[in-house]
């Protein structure tokens, strides 16, 4: 591909060549105009040769010939020959003709100098002109190649644009998918937001419940303390009861002993009454009644002792039960404390969760906003893709035009190049000719 700057440079370089060509043409014209001068030179040369020969032949004798020769030399040197009066007519004519010829020769010389100068100039110009033409020609070829390349590039561009059009179609469908996805995403984020708000509500409820549990466990701790105190008091009471039962047991033992003694007394009384015979009958009745009372007392005390044993067994059971209750209360107290601790931890965790939920809520809102932005962006993107597709089709058309024009230009430039090649050949010929002319005129002038 040839860049415009290169083409311009080629033009700039070509300009002096053209100028030189113009100068050459002018010189050529001048030279053509003075073409008879060339004949004059030729004739002049021939005449001079003939005249010299004749002069040498005519004089014959040395002195006269020498004089003539000197006169002719002077005439040729442009000086007026001396002692003109002494010359014969023919000699005079010869010398004068020679002088005349000399004048003419001077004029010819002046012209030849001009021609030499011009041809030198032409030569000076025509050499570079040829080179310039060659360069121009190659540059033109390059330009042509460049144009071809442009055309090729345009065709590639066309293909690329076609492909990009296809890709744009894909992008368009992707954007459509994206928009569908964004819509779904928006729906999902709405659902998420709803879920988050229900989670937040649940956590609030949970927090309230935990507070309630905490209060309840505090209440339970108070209750267990009260229960523990009550159990201790009950324990003391039961101990008192037990010792009282023991005391009662001792008393019944005493009563039992008394009953036994009474029984013995009654037995003895009965024995005494029996020995008294008829007189002891009444006494025997009393003794029998006393014995019966003693028996009943013994029975009653036995019953009391059984009851007291039962009471003592019960109090022992009660003491054990109270011990167990105290243990259970201790366990309950421990569990309550653990519950309180767990609830405290749970409250901390719940607070964290609540905070996290707030963060999630914020994040969801941010997602929503981003989805909104993305939707707008996708819409814009779709519009731009459409515009881009239009632009691409414009580019395709333009590139096709450029391609065809570039091809045409390439053809034209090839034509120009061909012509320039011809011109180059002409310039080379002119150069040769100018060189010949310069050489010839130089030779001529040297003479």
């Amino acid at each position: 591909m040839v860049k415009p700057s290169q083409a311009k440079a080629a033009g700039v370089r070509a300009a002096p060549a053209l100028l030189a060509a113009a100068a050459l043409a002018a010189a050529w014209a001048g030279l053509a105009a003075s073409s008879p001068a060339r004949g004059v030179f030729t004739l002049l040369g021939l005449a001079l040769g003939a005249a010299a020969g004749a002069a040498f032949a005519g004089l014959g004798a040395g002195r006269r010939a020498t004089r003539l020769h000197v006169a002719l030399g002077e005439a040729l040197a442009g000086r007026r020959p001396r002692a003109a009066g002494e010359w014969r007519a023919d000699e005079r004519a010869l010398v004068e003709g020679l002088a005349e010829h000399r004048v003419q020769l001077e004029q010819v010389r002046a012209r030849a100098e001009r021609v030499h100068e011009a041809s030198s100039q032409i030569s000076q110009v025509s050499g570079p002109l040829g080179q310039d033409l060659v360069d121009l020609c190659s540059e033109a070829r390059e330009v042509a190649h460049g144009a071809e390349a442009i055309a090729e590039t345009c065709r590639s561009l066309d293909a690329v644009v076609e492909r990009s059009g296809e890709e744009m179609g894909a992008v368009e469908s992707s954007v459509e998918d994206l928009m569908v996805n964004l819509t779904e995403c928006s729906g999902s984020s709405a659902v998420l937001a709803q879920d988050v708000s229900s989670v937040a509500a649940a956590i609030e409820e949970m927090s309230a419940t935990l507070t309630e549990i905490s209060q309840n466990s505090e209440g339970a701790a108070k209750v267990t303390k009260t229960a523990a105190a009550a159990a201790q008091r009950t324990d003391a009471t039961v101990e008192v009861l037990e010792s009282a039962a023991k005391e009662i047991g001792k008393v019944t033992a005493v009563i039992n002993s008394i009953a036994e003694q009474t029984n013995l007394l009654a037995l003895n009384a009965t024995i005494e009454a029996a020995s008294a015979g008829e007189a002891g009958r009444g006494f025997a009745v009393v003794a029998n009644e006393v014995k019966e009372l003693a028996r009943q007392t013994a029975e009653a005390t036995e019953e009391i002792r059984g009851r007291i044993d039962e009471i003592q067994a019960s109090t022992r059971g009660t003491v054990e039960a109270i011990g167990e209750i105290a243990g259970v209360i201790g366990e309950v107290d421990e569990i309550t404390q653990q519950i309180a601790q767990s609830v405290a931890e749970q409250q901390g965790v719940t607070a964290n969760v609540a905070q996290t939920v707030v963060s999630v809520d914020e994040a969801t809102r941010a997602i929503d906003a981003n989805v909104q932005h993305s939707s707008e962006g996708a819409l814009t993107l779709a519009q731009r893709v459409e515009a881009l597709a239009k632009a691409a089709s414009g580019v395709r058309e333009g590139s096709r035009g450029i391609s065809s024009r570039a091809s045409q230009n390439a053809g034209r430039i090839a034509e120009v190049s061909r012509r320039l090649t011809d011109d180059g050949a002409a310039a080379a010929e002119l150069d040769l000719f100018a060189k010949d002319a310069a050489e010839l005129t130089g030779t001529l002038l040297d003479r």
């Binding site: 036994e260 003694q261 013995l264 024995i271 009454a273 020995s275 029998n288």
Partner: protein
């Protein structure tokens, strides 16, 4: 109050009941002076094994005989409270029973495991001792009373005291011979 028919019928003899281990025995109440539950026995050196010792009862010395040991009865419930049945001396005896003749002038008490009541069994409830228990045992028993609480052996005081006398004599003989051996070591 349980009605006691004993005092209503003076013709029926009263029996003082007591336990020796699991067995029940009885003695005519007219032979008994008194009963005690609290007494302190003082051992007597060289006494036969059935003599428990002496008891001071209101200033009077009572010789205490281990009846169960004397009757060669197997020891029963040892945890039972021991009681003392003090017999009348012959001069104190007012009754008409033939056993009264067997009473000694010295005051004697029997250690029993537990005292029962003084009761008056009917004639029909009293039976002679069965022959299958052997002559020696049958000689100690006046009869067997089938009471509501079980069979009660009614002891024959003269035989019991004679048995005690024999044992005391045998014990004294063995004690004397042992003492003689110890006194003449050559």
């Amino acid at each position: 109050m349980t009605p006691n028919p004993a005092p209503q019928d003076p013709t029926r003899p009263l029996l003082a009941c007591f336990r020796l281990g699991r067995d029940q025995f009885a003695l005519p109440a007219s032979l008994v002076r008194e009963v005690h539950s609290r007494f302190e026995v003082h051992s007597v050196p060289g006494a036969p094994s059935h003599i428990r010792g002496l008891v001071n009862l209101r200033g009077q010395i009572v010789t205490v005989i281990d009846l169960a040991a004397m009757l060669e009865l197997k020891p029963g419930g040892g945890s039972e409270a021991r009681h003392l049945v003090v017999l009348r001396s012959r001069s104190e005896f007012r009754g008409s029973e033939p056993d009264g003749e067997a009473l000694s002038e010295e005051r004697v008490g029997w250690v029993v495991d537990r005292l029962g009541d003084v009761e008056a069994p009917s004639e029909a409830a009293l039976e002679p001792a069965p022959a299958s228990v052997g002559d020696a045992a049958r000689s100690l028993l006046a009869g067997v009373w089938r009471a509501e609480t079980g069979s009660i052996g009614v002891l024959k005081l003269a035989e019991v005291l004679a048995c005690a006398e024999d044992r005391a004599q045998a014990s004294a003989d063995s004690f004397r011979s042992r003492a003689a051996v110890e006194a003449a070591p050559w």
